[in-house]
């Protein structure tokens, strides 16, 4: 009785499991927190913790080496989106200095069939993704900021997540520091 049966498409079920559990978690956080901003921050932090672990999984599964530059990094994150969320965002809106860019998502399993109620219009529902990006990149010595620019849940055409490179982190602590 141990072999898996094939009645359901396990990939689809897994996707729905993530969507539903994420939704239940957000609903719980809304109950626990004092205000919507707190929830948005907590989602980002939770995403950060996930990103720190997901990067290990990603590097192990893809055997990828160091990124040459930010464009390379953006491409790698793009394939991570495909691998982990099953969506392929567009990388666009590069800043003139080449230190900022956006991921444009026209579909997002996390927000599938979600409708924000009126009293939660300020909630950054997808903030977990910003956190994942920040956490994952910190593990490869990149300090970045990530935030939501456009949000489908707020009526925009697409969801746009912007990433800004701040600085490269030191690989090792300088001698003399504890």
């Amino acid at each position: 009785m141990s072999r898996a049966s094939n009645r359901f498409d396990t990939k689809k079920v897994n996707s729905e499991l993530v969507t539903l559990t994420y939704g239940a978690l957000v609903a719980q956080m809304v109950k626990d927190a004092e205000n919507t901003d707190d929830v948005s921050k907590q989602l980002e932090r939770l995403g950060y913790n996930m990103g720190v672990r997901l990067i290990e999984d990603f590097l192990a599964k893809t055997g990828t080496g160091r990124c040459m530059d930010l464009k390379d990094t953006a491409d790698k994150i793009q394939s991570a989106f495909k691998m982990y969320l099953g969506v392929q965002p567009n990388v666009a809106n590069w800043s003139p200095g080449g230190d900022e860019f956006s991921f444009i998502l026209d579909t997002n399993p996390l927000t599938d069939l979600v409708e924000l109620p009126d009293d939660l219009k300020n909630l950054k529902y997808c903030n977990i993704i910003c956190g994942v990006i920040r956490g994952a990149l910190e593990m490869v010595q990149l300090d970045v900021q990530s935030w939501i620019v456009q949000d489908q849940l707020k009526g925009d055409q697409n969801t746009e997540i912007r990433v800004k490179f701040i600085r490269r982190l030191e690989d090792a602590m300088p001698a003399g520091e504890d």
Binding site: M1, A24, M50
Partner: protein, 162 residues
């Protein structure tokens, strides 16, 4: 579609969130006398309730309670945990024991008695998932988990009849 590892890592962070939230709200933090994992169980309940609605959309009606339990042990468990329940026992009077010899969230913790006291954290979501799924199928129950040797886990379902 999502990769498996996403949900596993997300599940861990879910557990961490509930534990940390308990600490900030100064709830019971004793590890030995049962942490307050009721929020985690409720998240599982909510998810199970909803996912079963979607999973059973195309299926014919279940014949009876045992038929429903068999579905949970086979198709449902396979869809979510990539394997079937290894052993189902029942006293035919509303008590069911579902045994999973290699429960997914415990197999990453350990294969021995190490971390046994942390095991409740990793089975509570699933208890809720089971309770929610059964509830939406019209079966009210209490679901608990028994872990003696990781990664094996027994889920005890006690059906509540009026």
């Amino acid at each position: 579609m999502c990769d498996q590892s996403v949900f596993e890592i997300f599940h861990s962070e879910l557990v961490n969130y509930v534990i940390q939230n308990n600490e900030t709200q100064l709830k019971n933090t004793s590890k030995t006398h049962g942490e307050d994992l009721s929020n985690l169980e409720y998240i599982g309940f909510s998810t199970g309730f909803r996912i079963i609605e979607r999973l059973t959309r195309e299926l014919p009606r279940f014949r009876d309670e045992l038929d429903t339990m068999k579905f949970i042990c086979t198709d449902f468990w396979s869809a979510i945990y990539m394997k079937q329940i290894d052993n189902l026992r029942t006293n035919h009077q509303g008590i069911y024991v579902l045994q999973d010899n290699c429960f997914r969230y415990l197999s990453k913790l350990s294969n021995t008695k190490q971390y046994l006291d942390l095991s409740p954290r990793y089975v509570t979501f699933t208890c809720g998932l089971l309770r929610g799924s059964l509830a939406n199928l019209g079966i009210r129950s209490i679901v608990t988990a028994e872990v003696q040797t990781m990664p094996s886990c027994k889920f005890h379902i006690q059906v509540q009849r009026n």
